[in-house]
């Protein structure tokens, strides 16, 4: 339990001399190191074993899964489970739907959010802190509060049979965090820069687009990643607005996966979970520092 104290041990070593302290110090440190190693190993097993188990199970046949030990390796490696999940299980279609809903929403949200963040942080006018507060309030409201009126509107305007309800709802619900984070990033950009640009003859809109947007490019990537994970992993909104099986996003599709197959086919089900999990994991592994920073800074500021 003791906190590692290099200062103290090295000081002690210096005062008592190496011969006197080497023994007791080493003995005191050894169990401490072992303790840390055990905790770290346990942590790794807990974090990673479920994923390995899932991967191995996705390569088993139904027989293999039901009759052999859950610890065993696949007797035959059924790579066909993946093609089955992708085509027969319609996972390919679901991924396509997700992309078609998520990417436009993301682009729209970032564009509108950046412009609003600029107007709220750089521009000077009465009532801008109140407007920012109105945006912020949106983060507290549970999405259940807006589902039913939106469902009614989408139904009456005939948008229900398309992916537009998802695009619009994701954009709207994502705006509070986007606006807030962009406004925060603009706080580090001095206003004088834009005043100077307008003296040189650029309009303020032009200054926004050609000067401020490139300056917050990094922030755009961070906010974009955060929102991507939120929207890609969303279940509630997608479940509400996609009655049509052909419009299902990947999460809704995965949830209904066993239903589509009638009797449960475990191999393809696990393959579908794997595709979903390792797809997001891949993005994370490439950009892990950015993702961690983005997700946590969004949390603290929100």
């Amino acid at each position: 339990m003791a906190i590692d104290t290099p200062v103290k041990t090295s000081a002690g070593r210096r005062s008592r001399g190496p011969s006197a302290s080497a023994g007791p110090v080493r003995r005191a440190r050894a169990p401490r190191r072992l303790w840390v190693k055990i905790v770290v190993t346990l942590l790794l097993v807990v974090e990673i074993y479920p994923l390995i188990w899932m991967l191995l199970t996705s390569l088993k046949s139904n027989d293999d899964y039901l009759n052999n030990s859950t610890w065993s390796l696949p007797t035959t490696w059924e790579w066909g489970n993946y093609t089955e999940a992708w085509t027969t299980g319609h996972l390919g279609l679901y991924v396509q739907n997700s992309l078609l809903a998520v990417l436009p929403a993301l682009a729209l949200m970032l564009l509108l959010g950046t412009a609003a963040g600029f107007a709220l942080q750089i521009m000077v006018w009465k009532g801008r802190s109140l407007t920012l507060l109105v945006f912020l309030a949106g983060m507290m409201v549970p999405p259940q509060m807006i589902l039913l009126p939106l469902f009614t509107v989408y139904f009456q305007t005939g948008l229900s049979g398309t992916l537009w309800p998802l695009i619009l709802t994701y954009t709207g619900t994502g705006l509070p965090l986007t606006v807030f984070m962009m406004a925060t990033y603009y706080r580090t950009v001095p206003r004088e820069l834009f005043e100077a640009a307008t003296i040189d003859g650029a309009g303020i809109l032009r200054a926004f687009w050609t000067i401020s947007v490139p300056m917050v490019r990094n922030a755009l990537l961070t906010v974009g990643l955060v929102q991507f994970f939120f929207i890609w992993n969303d279940l509630l909104i997608a479940l509400t607005f996609t009655n049509n099986q052909d419009l299902r996003t990947i999460q809704v599709g995965l949830l209904n996966f066993t239903g589509d197959f009638g009797a449960t086919q475990y191999g393809p089900l696990f393959a579908a979970i794997c595709i979903n999990v390792f797809g997001t994991l891949l993005i994370y592994l490439f950009l892990n520092q950015k993702v961690m920073k983005g997700l946590t800074s969004g949390a603290v500021k929100g």
Partner: protein, 294 residues
């Protein structure tokens, strides 16, 4: 010079679209939903006003009481669990692993980005007893214990849910709190050590008070999120067995879309919103008092 940055037309062009979309998707529906709570019916059959009937029903509905209780206990347990687990991990990162913690941090953050539906299905199979004994029950059998049907009773399903959500999020809180711990100046820690504080005493009297602000914002963030729990419940238990693991969010969803009762669904959504606001406000006030006193 203020004329340039105060250009009303530019402000309207920049802010207008965002404000419009936000108003149409969030603000108007919130007010509209309030209106629904005084009606009965749904989009297809039409709505008829029923005065305050939904509200009196809300207070007498035992399912609401159960769902509210479930939501609050879930939020409390998961919040404590994930913040404590995250804090212990953060202490491990800062004081034991030091510079070598980057890899562990990355790995422990894995589950945070995974889709909840996939994690829910995975845990369902991980803890299942039939048709195949999952790893957890196999482990129990291996040490000579009987299999447990985790999803057979609301009590055990609840604990699997709690465990899953702590597994999912502790890496997130670990990184959040890690950032807070790294900010503690080295001089403070070293002078405390020279004064003889070490181990638990150092954590209790120096580290904990200094990381209180970030602990508090973690708590607020966690409560705000856990009160809205939906995905993990739907994917893991779908509210069952019976209504044993149904939070307010899911009860609202079922009332609205399974039973097509939009009016009562809106009333439940309103209750959820009020609960979220009240709890957040309470936590916020307590945390502010603590920080100024500490």
């Amino acid at each position: 010079m203020h004329r340039v940055l105060g250009d009303r037309r530019a402000i309207a062009i920049l802010l207008g679209p965002a404000l419009l979309v936000y108003s149409l998707i969030m603000l108007v529906p919130i007010v509209w939903s309030l209106g629904y709570s005084f009606t009965q019916g749904n989009t297809i059959e039409g709505f008829t006003g029923n005065g305050g009937a939904n509200f009196s029903r809300l207070f007498e509905d035992p399912a609401v009481r159960d769902a509210l209780w479930f939501t609050l206990t879930y939020a409390a347990l998961v919040t404590v669990g994930q913040v404590v687990a995250g804090y212990l991990l953060a202490l491990l990162y800062v004081f034991f692993l030091k510079r070598s913690s980057a890899l562990i941090r990355t790995l422990a953050f894995f589950p945070v980005v995974l889709p909840t539906v996939a994690v829910g299905l995975l845990f369902q199979k991980f803890f299942q007893v039939a048709p195949q004994t999952g790893p957890v029950n196999s482990l129990l059998n291996a040490v000579g214990l009987d299999s447990i049907d985790f999803f057979g009773s609301a009590g055990s399903a609840f604990w699997v849910l709690i465990l899953m959500d702590i597994w999912r999020s502790m890496g997130f809180y670990a990184v959040l709190l890690f950032a807070g711990l790294v900010d503690i100046p080295d001089e403070v820690l070293e002078s405390a050590r020279l004064d003889g504080a070490s181990g638990l005493r150092l954590i209790r009297h120096i580290v904990l008070p200094l990381s209180l602000p970030v602990l508090m914002s973690s708590l607020i963030f966690s409560i705000n999120g856990t009160l809205k729990v939906f995905d993990s419940v739907v994917a893991l238990t779908n509210g069952g067995p019976g209504n044993g693991t149904t939070p307010l969010t899911l009860y609202m969803f079922q009332t609205s879309f399974t039973y097509s009762d939009y009016g009562y669904g809106s009333t439940i959504a309103l209750l959820l919103t009020v609960v979220c606001l009240l709890v957040s406000l309470a936590v916020y006030r307590v945390s502010r008092r603590d920080i100024t006193e500490g």
